[in-house]
């Protein structure tokens, strides 16, 4: 269950709208079903009272929207969860928007529910009720099913890296701590496989890719004016995914382009219609960076020098590095 309520957020927004701090609010709008939540702009309390929603399915990271939002007149209020604030800082580091045009209200987060997992519980979801550590799914046909809330969390929330906000103008509720999570466990599991097993694993996962670009378009690190994959002059332009090479190429290059900049927000895996665990590619880079060059969390502070634009004289050699990334060996 989320620690803050919809009412608290609406009151806060109404206050900031009222005193002229902001002229619009970027929030979540309710839809047809419990999980059908859309990011939307609100300009009045009345609109928020009618449609604003906050709950277990408000997973979208709003940071990227600020790139476009801040180009408009006025100041926008945005609610950021701890993990979103990392993306926020990273975008600021890369000069992607004007900090002055955003008012950040940091909100605590107890993990967002995974729609896919909820849907696996019952067919025909009428509604979802959150009772703290249990979640009850009301089915259209099969009655109620109650499950552990923790089991309904996506990987990114199960292995939450931080409950601490690294950027905000104002905080609602208590700030949390950076968490020593098990987020690299899955990566390690893969590292321990044989190359053949790893190849088979990724071949199976990536072959499902339909190149819808959702992972790219949602990624807060992918704010390029023009993506290399859309640019015929880049030499890597492609839009088809029928060929297994192209899927691999797309995902490898995308992961490399965001390496050192990816804050591990997990949006790529959330939006993938084919449930490809794309975050495991990014986490591999993060894990390697931490192991080769010392711990680095993108977005932890504004202006930090990313590991790929930095070096030391005694960095490991590539061969050594590849060897080291299998620390079991």
């Amino acid at each position: 269950m989320q620690a803050v309520t919809r009412e608290i957020l609406i009151n806060k927004a109404a206050e900031l709208l009222g005193n002229g701090t902001v002229d619009r609010v970027f929030g979540w709008k309710k839809g047809e079903f419990s999980y059908d939540v859309t990011p939307a702009l609100f300009t009045t309390r009345e609109a928020m009272d009618a449609d604003f929603v906050f709950g277990d399915f408000c997973g979208a990271n709003f940071s990227k929207y600020l790139v476009a939002e801040t180009r408009k007149e006025g100041k926008v209020l945005v609610f950021l969860k701890p993990c979103d604030t990392y993306s926020f800082n990273q975008l600021l580091t890369e000069h992607r928007f004007d900090r002055e045009k955003v008012y950040v209200v940091g909100i605590p987060c107890s993990g967002m529910l995974d729609t896919v997992k909820i849907k696996a519980v019952a067919e025909g979801i009428a509604s979802v009720e959150d009772n703290g550590d249990r979640v009850t799914v009301h089915s259209l046909f099969d009655g109620d099913v109650t499950v552990s809330r923790n089991d309904m969390l996506p990987d990114r929330c199960k292995n939450c890296k931080s409950k601490k906000h690294v950027a905000y103008d104002e905080l609602i509720g208590e700030d949390g701590e950076v968490i020593d999570s098990g987020r690299f466990d899955e990566v390690e599991k893969l590292e321990k496989m044989t190359p053949d097993e790893r190849f088979a694993f990724w071949q199976n996962e990536l072959s499902r890719c339909i190149r819808c670009n959702a992972c790219r378009d949602v990624c807060p690190a992918c704010t390029c004016e023009k993506c290399v994959f859309d640019n015929p002059d880049s030499g890597v332009e492609n839009k088809a995914a029928a060929n297994s090479f192209e899927e691999k190429m797309f995902h490898i290059i995308r992961a490399f382009h965001v390496a050192g900049r990816c804050t591990d927000c997990g949006e790529c895996s959330r939006v993938c219609p084919q449930h490809i665990p794309l975050h495991l590619l990014n986490r591999k880079f993060i894990k390697d960076i931490n192991e080769f060059y010392g711990d680095y969390q993108a977005g932890a502070e504004v202006g930090s020098r990313a590991p790929l634009v930095n070096y030391t004289a005694d960095d490991p050699e590539p061969a050594e590095a590849v060897e080291r990334s299998h620390h079991d060996a």
Partner: protein, 343 residues
Amino acid sequence: MRKISLDRINDLFAAIAAEFRLYLPVDTNGGARYEEWAEGKILSDELNTVRSAKDFFFPQTENLMDFKTEGKKIEIVDTRSETEDFVIFGVKACDVRSFDVLDRVFLAEPQDSFYKNRREHSLILSMACAKPHETCFCTTFGIDPSAPMGDIVCYKTEDALYMDAKTEKGAALLKKIESITVEDNGEAAEKQKKVIRERLEKLPLHNLTADRFGGDKTAEFFKAPEWKELSASCLGCGTCTFVCPTCQCYDIKDFNTGHGIKRFRCWDSCMYSEFTKMSAGQPRLTQLERFRQRFMHKLVYFPANNDGMFACVGCGRCLSKCPIQMNIVKVMKTLGKGEEKNV
């Protein structure tokens, strides 16, 4: 109507596969998808596949032709070959309807031979939906999930599969598997139909109507102010387009292999900013325009050209897959509401 008990369903698949390539939905860790049947593949229990069945006729990419160049000379290599007959098993009513929508495009003159080739060699075994999901709204478009179209309609109950041929092709296939099936009076299927229809009543989108849309509504909806809010948080990705069974925009591109040029066709999306971009300019500059195009096409432009047929089959894929949960239902409700007020 023919019947086979579920514990012998593998025999059915084997019998069909002996004659044709057989495709059916199977489970993967990314949801259900169509795969070619082979011993050991199990029919998925999922309501529907993540990707639609349009892939069979309009694949994500396909080679159109090859070119060889030498000096100033060009040679065109026709790489087409006639497809063998194949069977798609377990297609849901919505997806079956989507084939009609696609036919309107690809089989309109001049016909697309690549599409036609596969379409003519296919046999569709449709399946009634046992448990429609909250995202389903096929009834909005007059589709009956309890009685899908197709060469053969199938009903799956707790213990058996019932098959009813709707076309000659279907009847011929049923004939071929006569030895492993038994005749059935159709009562079980009727009972199943009734259950489905009862379930449909409970669906949240059951009452959604497309009455307010149609070919003559361009002026009414094109300039609607609601588009702004609807498209505001659209990421411009192609998820809705690519999982949609009726979206058929494509791009034609050349790939230089180093030994020659392959000209291929691949899915494209009108939601992409590059879609209409040309060197001279860009007619749809904003995501609003692109977003509007997609839904106007489905609800207005397509019906205008196709006797009122909507280019949406209510499968609900975009409802569950859109990264920001924006979808055609919200568009229909939002735009439709505006009109309601006026009435």
